[in-house]
């Protein structure tokens, strides 16, 4: 017997488990659901959804608790300085969990209606949420990348999860190919920045560039190229023109609840990541990327709005409108970039966060209605599907109207508050041009909301309308829509407290 094998002890970073609790809860929930559902006979109706909603709710609660902790102790970083525990991160985490909460309820009846059994979709929701939260809280490029991959992979699968609709699978594979493509670019960007800065950790990166007295361009060509590629990855995720092409197809093809999830959670996480990367990791380079963000914002606003005009499928319309919304948020990001980082403060950041939360709730509600109207087969999402909704389901139609008006940014709805915040931020930093463009493109976008409202309320019924399967509004879906409408109106009337909260 030779010398006894001795493993030398490894000094891991100290881990603040409570700070990670939201992540753990979601993970745990996912595991329980996955394993539990696998081992036990199929759960009764609605249980999967309710379970997921409860998990999300629990996560929200924990995040709120953490919020207060941050209020007291101030922001910190976790697990060896790779995760942030700050209000921005928590805000987006909350947004994401709210998204999961609502999306789960929207999904419930849908799955039964479409005969797509099984809890996997919910598992993916929760896991994707983990990825999103990590993205938005990351303080390290590689962690951020992993979060991004978790979210993306989950989304690819979800998009393709409607086994009976070939469109669903097509959208899944499209999303996958383009997603992989762009994340490869992102990764390359990470590599180049790593090469230029000597680390992937935001804190270290900032430190490195603080050290270099004056930014010598020749030295930092690598970093610049890296930033470009990082931007590509992020722009793809937020579906900014011209990296938006995937989104209309995927939104249309994916099962409607999943579309809702993408539009809310996906966007929130992606913009969180964008704020982190641009403002927190690369504040020194704001002069370099701000013009790009400006341009992206403009073409995204206009492009999204204009292209929506000619669409006839509501899911597709909403896809383009969500592109246009992304443009609005980019305006906020641009404004935030004026303040510079690495601390995430200023009207720009808060306007972006406000917009994200409001829009997430809004868009899930909207797609919730589309889910109901899609009817069995999830195919009746054309404008025709909405014809006469005002007569058959006046309440539902009214809710949809409120949500659409909010998306159009009509006052007394949350949508207006969101736009107002972003425009204020933009005007604050004197970028009037982009503000005007944003508002005008909002008008163009309004046209498509009007078209939906027209077919709901005004359009004359046509032959065979009565033969159509009636639109059902099951309980959970109804609750979800109701919640989002209520939120929309409440925030529209009394936004003060929310604005106060926004960091």
């Amino acid at each position: 017997m030779g010398a006894p094998f001795t493993a030398d002890t490894l000094q891991g970073p100290k881990i603040d488990w409570f700070a990670l609790s939201p992540l753990l809860v979601l993970l745990g929930g996912a595991m329980v659901l996955l394993v539990g559902a696998a081992l036990t006979p199929p759960w009764p109706k609605r249980w999967y959804a309710i379970f997921t909603a409860k998990v999300a709710a629990a996560a929200v609660v924990l995040e709120v608790v953490l919020w207060h902790r941050v209020d007291d102790k101030g922001p910190t970083t976790l697990v060896g300085d790779v995760l942030h525990l700050d209000k921005v991160g928590l805000w987006i985490a909350i947004t994401i969990c709210v998204g999961v909460f609502l999306a789960a309820m929207v999904t419930d009846d849908y799955l039964r209606r479409e005969g797509l059994d099984g809890p996997e979709l919910y598992v993916l929701y929760m896991l994707a949420a983990v990825g999103g939260i990590v993205m938005a809280a990351a303080n390290d490029l590689i962690v951020l990348f992993l979060g991004l991959e978790i979210l993306s992979l989950a989304l690819y699968v979800m998009a393709a999860s409607h086994r009976k609709r070939i469109e669903s699978q097509e959208s899944g594979i499209k999303y996958f190919v383009l997603g992989g493509f762009s994340s490869a670019f992102f990764l390359y960007g990470v590599a180049l920045v790593y090469g230029g800065a000597g680390s992937t950790n935001f804190t270290k990166i900032v430190a490195a560039f603080d050290a270099t007295v004056e930014l010598n361009r020749r030295n930092d060509a690598l970093v610049l190229a890296g930033i470009a590629l990082l931007l590509v990855g992020l722009a793809f995720k937020v579906a900014a023109v011209p990296f938006h092409f995937w989104s209309p197809d995927v939104y249309e093809g994916a099962p409607t609840p999943v579309t809702a999830f993408m539009a809310s959670v996906g966007k929130a996480a992606a913009f969180g990541a964008m704020l982190r990367v641009l403002l927190q990791a690369l504040p020194h380079w704001s002069d370099d990327y701000r013009p790009v963000v400006w341009l992206l914002a403009v073409i995204t606003l206009v492009g999204g709005a204009v292209m929506a005009v000619v669409q006839t499928n509501v899911k597709r319309m909403l896809a383009f409108s969500s592109i246009s919304h992304a443009g609005f948020i980019l305006v906020g990001v641009e404004a935030a970039a004026h303040h510079g980082g690495p601390s995430l403060t200023g009207s720009g950041v808060s306007s972006v966060l406000l917009y994200l939360l409001i829009y997430s709730v809004l868009v899930i509600g909207t797609f919730g209605v589309v889910t109901a109207v899609g009817r069995t087969g999830d195919a009746a999402t054309g404008l025709a599907g909405f014809r006469g909704l005002g007569k058959q389901q006046p309440v539902l139609a009214l809710g949809m109207t409120v949500l659409l008006l909010a998306q159009a940014g009509v006052p007394l709805t949350s949508g207006f508050i969101a736009k107002f915040g972003v425009i204020t931020a933009a005007v604050d930093v004197r970028s009037y041009a982009v503000a005007i463009i944003a508002m005008v493109s909002a008008v163009i976008a309004a046209f498509l909301y009007l078209r939906i409202m027209i077919s709901m309320w005004i359009a004359e019924p046509e032959a065979g309308d009565d033969a159509r399967e009636p639109v059902r509004v099951p309980m959970l879906l109804g609750i979800a829509i109701g919640l989002s409408v209520t939120f929309t109106l409440v925030i529209g009337l009394f936004p003060g407290w929310l604005i106060d909260l926004a960091p």
Binding site: P411, Y432, V440, V443, A446, F447, P495, G496
Partner: protein, 512 residues
């Protein structure tokens, strides 16, 4: 001290009414109607109370109520009435019950009424809000009910008209929103923290000339669309023609006034320097509008469209008066807001009644109605003459004040605009002749005479038309002080001086 929040109620009561109507079950149509009517009547009553409690010869805002609304953005629920807005509020308050009681939408009463009440709340709000943000909220929210009224209860081409109306106006508001925010943000520099309070900004903030002009235009575009000022007027004929009678009445009587009112309250008051600077442009557009509208009206074949174009002409006069920047002219404009509301509103009612009877608005299809319905014709005649601006009726007073008041500061524009008076006679008399004179043909023989319900609906209009024409003094007493205050503000904040009122020179030797 806590005084009765009358203005807040002016907004809330109809809003609540709208909700009530919306929640009441479809199966009780009568209950729906009663609720709607009661709330609107209540609102009207309150507006009248405001009118009587209003202290005349007092230039300041009255019944002011101010509460913080969105603290972080310095936005407050700030309402107040002064001479400029007073009568618009009253007009709104009085008009809605009449329309709700008198005009039948024929289907979906529940939705119709609830939109109507929401509309009333919005209009009221935009006339009494003294906070830029608040004003914008109301200004914008008005679009929604109007959109649905046109789209839901309008005629053949309603979707196009409604959409056009919505988007056209929204483009204007888009600029105004940015303007509002920019104003507040820039004003912050002068007054510690950001505020959207109209008075605070107007009194404290000072903008660089160029900035002020940009901001002014951001506002002016929105209002120019709303007025509508040539060449941004083309949404109006479509909207009017397609809107249901009730909608047209409201649209003409109060909605358009949000534009002229806005120009005065938020254009001239906030940016005097810019307003003075932009005078020539607006005067010119206004005058073009007067002639253009009149000429276009002359050749219309659709009675409603004709009236719509006449609105373009009339509002041209109002804008002319606004930018003449003299006490007389602006007071005239404010008065003309009301007069036009009355006469054009009544005209639309009458046209609506004709449509109810004949299911056409084509002038060529109508003939000799005066013979079969003399009373109806008489009513139409009176309203028409007031619209033509016959002295002794309301239309004349405002128009004359505008013209004579503007003559000193905008002579050549007046010289041209006055010829609009001739054209007014042309298009209305011609239309009247074609519709009412001659021997009625087969289709028109059975044209029913004015009914009591309709008569009682028209009576208030006629009464006000005559009263305002004969004895406008009480109105002027309430309007003028505020106008003077406004003009003082303008003169202090710009190089503008309105010509001194001449002292009549009595030369000794009577003949030269």
């Amino acid at each position: 001290m806590i005084e009765f929040p009358i203005l807040t109620l002016l907004v809330l009561v109809p809003a609540v009414g709208a909700l009530l109507v919306a929640v009441i079950s479809k199966r009780q149509p009568d209950l729906v109607k009663v609720t709607a009517l009661l709330t609107s009547v209540l609102t009207g009553g309150m507006s009248l109370w405001v009118l009587f409690a209003f202290k005349s010869h007092n230039p300041d805002f009255q019944f002011v109520s101010q509460h913080t609304w969105i603290k972080p953005w310095g936005i407050s629920w700030h309402l107040g009435v002064d001479g400029i807005s007073l009568f618009l509020v009253v007009l709104t308050g009085v008009l809605f019950p009449l329309v709700i009681a008198g005009v039948d939408p024929h289907h979906d009463h529940k939705r119709y009424l609830s939109w109507m009440l929401l509309l009333e709340a919005g209009v009221m709000g935009s006339f009494i809000s003294l906070d830029l943000f608040l004003f914008f909220v109301f200004f914008e929210i008005v679009l929604v009910p109007m959109y649905f009224l046109i789209g839901g209860w309008g005629y053949d081409n309603r979707v196009y008209a409604a959409t056009k109306f919505f988007l056209f106006t929204m483009v204007g508001s888009a600029f105004m929103l940015v303007g509002i925010i920019a104003t507040a943000v820039l004003a912050k520099a002068d007054d510690g923290r950001v505020t959207f309070d109209l008075i605070k900004i107007a009194e404290n903030a000072t903008f660089a000339a160029s900035t002020g002009r940009w901001l002014f235009f951001a506002f002016a575009i929105a209002f120019a669309v709303k007025v509508p000022l040539f060449p941004l007027h083309t949404w109006l004929p479509d909207a009017h023609t397609q809107a249901p009678t009730g909608g047209s009445v409201i649209l003409a009587a109060v909605l358009l006034k949000m534009g002229t009112y806005g120009l005065l309250r938020f254009g001239v008051y906030l940016f005097p320097e810019a307003a003075v600077w932009a005078r020539p442009l607006f005067l010119t557009l206004a005058v073009i509008g007067v002639l253009w509208g009149a000429v276009a009206a002359t050749m219309q074949t659709d009675l409603k469209r004709l009236v719509a174009y006449s609105s373009v002409a009339h509002l041209g006069f109002i804008v002319l008066g606004t930018f003449a920047l003299t006490t007389t002219a602006i007071t005239g404009s404010v008065l003309q807001n009301i007069s036009h509301g009355l006469s054009t509103g009544a005209l639309f009612l009458l046209v609506g009644m004709i449509y109810e009877r004949r299911h056409t608005r084509e002038i060529s299809k109508l003939k000799g109605l005066q013979k079969v319905a003399p009373v109806f014709a008489a009513a139409f005649m009176v309203v028409m003459l007031s619209s033509i601006g016959l002295p002794g009726l309301n239309g004349f007073v405002g128009e004359f004040m505008i013209l004579i008041g503007s003559f000193a500061t905008a002579r050549w524009w007046v010289v041209v605009a006055a010829s609009g008076v001739i054209l007014a006679a042309v298009y209305l008399l011609w239309a009247y002749q074609r519709v009412f004179h001659g021997e009625p043909d087969e289709d028109n023989k059975a044209f029913p005479e004015l009914r009591w319900k309709e008569a009682s609906l028209l009576l208030p209009f006629l009464a006000l038309i005559v009263f305002t024409g004969v004895f406008p003094k009480p109105m002027l007493n309430r309007i003028e002080p505020s106008v003077n205050k406004l003009l003082d503000h303008v003169e202090q904040n710009s190089d503008w001086q309105q010509p001194e009122p001449l002292e009549p020179v009595i030369s000794e030797e009577g003949e030269g």
